[in-house]
């Protein structure tokens, strides 16, 4: 089981050596990256099947917790670790001048994403998070346009501010508990962190890790970056990286921060996210920014879902997060050729009928039209919300419904334009094959999941049950007894 470390170590060592490998053989330099990711993805999937519904803790360096850093692998962690590897493989950056540097960065992104999902140590999470941040700056700036430089710098400022806030929160937690191991923190939290200081630490970390999860006050970078970055990188950031940041917040909520106020803060910010995101998407005039804003709205729904206490919230949130994980990268892949204004998309269905059909499938699922998976995920969230007693949760449900109506409005406005051939001046270029193939693959996964909905839902519920079980986590990591 300690092979899990290879998910991080193998891409890293390849990344370090890639400039050297490329000098020896350009062919090896081009293919070693995807090959390694294929290998780690396969390794991750095989470990997932070995693990079943148990969990395992890896004591790095052989030091018992809390002395060293612990990696914790349950189904949820491995799921997202594999998603990071596989997602980077599917959305492997292509083109651009400096393909060696881009491949290096993509490998590091896969490694750090996997590590972020697996880490069981608060400071280690911070370091992984910073690594993900720095890699994404590089990948966005790789577009090499003036817009991408400016957007990256603005993103860097927001993200560094957030990271420093998270570090402050970590300092407060360490000040109150004297440990960084999540299992030990879970043991100490009821006595040491169930106070004002704990809440403040949570809010600071929420701001910090919320930057990548597109949380309301720190999401100003989203439209700029997604409009200027390469489409594949936008897909990676919106699809995979945002979920990893969300995963950390969920872990912290389950294990460490049990205050009801913490959930309320998340709920309120999520509601604002849905409202502002969907309204801005509705007003947007170009395709890329429309789906950028809609991703803020979708992540808002996830925040609302995860704000439901207990297993139910994780189940609902996980369902909608996994749905979004598949849909958003596909949308951004389609956006690569549709980057113009929405009115310029008239007649696009004629130029690329397959892309238009895929878009409609994705849009239907995003809005939540039965029997597509998006419908069941949203339904699950709404059902769980309606079972809460606090009125704020009802507001969340209302907002999600209103958001769906807005989504339907703006997505269909686009779709109907696709088939308006009469006022088309110049139909947009048709899609390149790699983009279309990857998008089709994701859509096929989406459509295929309709037929296995029941086993899939049971699987996700199992994952949620395991993730919500604090005692199970502590038992697996089994830190030294408290003095």
């Amino acid at each position: 089981m300690n092979k899990l470390v290879l998910l991080v170590a193998l891409p890293l060592i390849t990344a370090f050596l890639l400039p050297v490998i490329n000098r020896v053989s350009a062919f090896a330099g081009r293919w070693s990256g995807p090959l390694i990711l294929l290998l780690t993805s396969a390794l991750g999937i095989s470990l997932w099947s070995q693990l079943g519904d148990s969990a395992v803790a890896i004591e790095l360096g052989g030091f018992r917790p809390p002395l060293g850093i612990t990696l914790y692998a349950d189904q949820m962690a491995i799921l997202f670790a594999v998603a990071a590897s596989l997602g980077t493989l599917l959305l492997w950056p292509n083109g651009g001048e400096d393909s060696v540097r881009q491949s290096t960065l993509a490998l590091i992104l896969a490694a750090s994403g996997s590590g972020l999902a697996l880490s069981g140590d608060l400071f280690n999470i911070y370091v992984f998070y910073e690594l993900v941040a720095v890699v994404s700056y590089g990948l966005i700036a790789a577009k090499a346009t003036s817009g991408s430089y400016a957007a990256t710098l603005r993103y860097l400022v927001v993200s560094s501010f957030g990271a420093a806030m998270a570090l402050t929160g970590i300092a407060l937690v360490y000040q109150a508990t004297g440990t960084l191991n999540l299992a030990q923190l879970a043991q100490l939290a009821p006595t040491q962190l169930n106070n004002m200081q704990g809440l403040a630490a949570f809010v600071l970390m929420l701001i910090g890790f919320g930057v990548k999860a597109e949380l309301f006050p720190v999401n100003t970078w989203v439209p700029e970056v997604y409009a200027t970055a390469p489409a594949r990188i936008s897909g990676l950031l919106a699809g995979v990286v945002s979920k990893l940041a969300l995963l950390i917040i969920v872990r912290l909520l389950v294990l460490v921060f049990h205050q009801p106020e913490a959930l309320t803060v998340m709920l309120v910010l999520g509601i604002i996210g849905v409202v502002s995101g969907e309204l801005a998407a509705w007003r947007a005039r170009d395709f890329k920014r429309m789906i950028a804003f809609s991703s803020i709205g979708q992540l808002g729904i996830m925040f609302i879902a995860f704000a439901i206490p207990g297993k139910a919230g994780i189940f609902a949130g996980l369902a909608i997060a996994l749905h979004h994980l598949v849909v958003k990268p596909a949308l951004f892949l389609l956006a690569e050729r549709w980057s113009g204004s929405l009115s310029g998309l008239a007649g696009a269905a004629k130029a690329s009928p397959l892309a238009a059909a895929l878009f409609i499938l994705l849009a239907l699922s995003l809005i939540g039209v039965p029997p597509l998976p998006g419908f069941w995920a949203k339904l699950l969230v709404l059902v769980e919300l309606s079972q809460q007693s606090q009125p704020l949760y009802y507001l969340g449900a209302v907002v999600i419904l209103a958001g769906a109506a807005l989504e339907a409005n703006y997505l269909f406005r686009v779709a109907s334009r696709f088939y308006h051939a009469e006022n088309a001046q110049t139909a947009p270029a048709s899609h390149r094959l790699p983009e279309l193939a990857t998008a089709s693959l994701l859509c096929a996964a989406l459509a295929g999941s309709v037929f296995v909905l029941t086993p899939l839902a049971e699987q996700i519920e199992g994952i949620a049950t395991q993730a919500a079980d604090t005692a199970h986590y502590i038992q697996t990591v089994n830190p030294e007894a408290l003095p």
Binding site: E130, A141, L153, S160, A227, S276, A280, S339
Partner: protein
């Protein structure tokens, strides 16, 4: 070292955090904002190191086999070491980006950079600027011919 000294040090840490945040949020020049980030990180580092500091402890190093009675906690020291190095890497990248932004737009004033960025995005999408929508919280006035 007394309790008051601890209080002074905590004031320094939180003071740096607040001043740095103010620099990031209120400044309009990008280099000034990067200065703000550096100050904020310095404050967070100091806070981290203070977290478990006890008066009267010795540095966690064994010199010539003598083990001090009370040693300072080595963990936050290692963490701060890490954080400082991370900070300088990001600083270098931020300054490189600032160089490119200046070369592209001829300015580092945040308001002008945002305006040019909006124009760039709108230009790529092929839409007229006044009709393009902004981020919900980013409604701003534009003057033609500036920058």
């Amino acid at each position: 070292m007394t309790m008051d000294t601890g209080l002074i040090l905590y004031t320094a840490a939180f003071g740096l955090i607040l001043i740095g945040s103010a620099g990031i949020v209120l400044s309009t020049h990008l280099v000034r904002i990067i200065f703000g980030i550096a100050l904020l990180e310095a404050g967070a580092n100091l806070l981290l190191l203070l977290a478990t500091y006890r008066a009267g402890s010795a540095a966690p190093i064994i010199v010539e086999g003598r083990i001090p009675a009370v040693m300072a906690d080595p963990v936050p020291q290692a963490l701060v070491l890490t954080a400082i190095v991370i900070g300088v890497g990001i600083l270098a990248l931020a300054l490189s980006l600032a160089l490119r932004v200046q070369r592209a737009y001829g300015t580092l004033d945040l308001r002008e950079v945002r305006q040019r960025l909006e124009q760039d995005i709108a230009g790529e999408a092929g839409i007229d600027l006044p009709s393009s929508s902004d981020a919900p919280q980013a409604v701003m006035t534009r003057q033609e011919g500036q920058a």
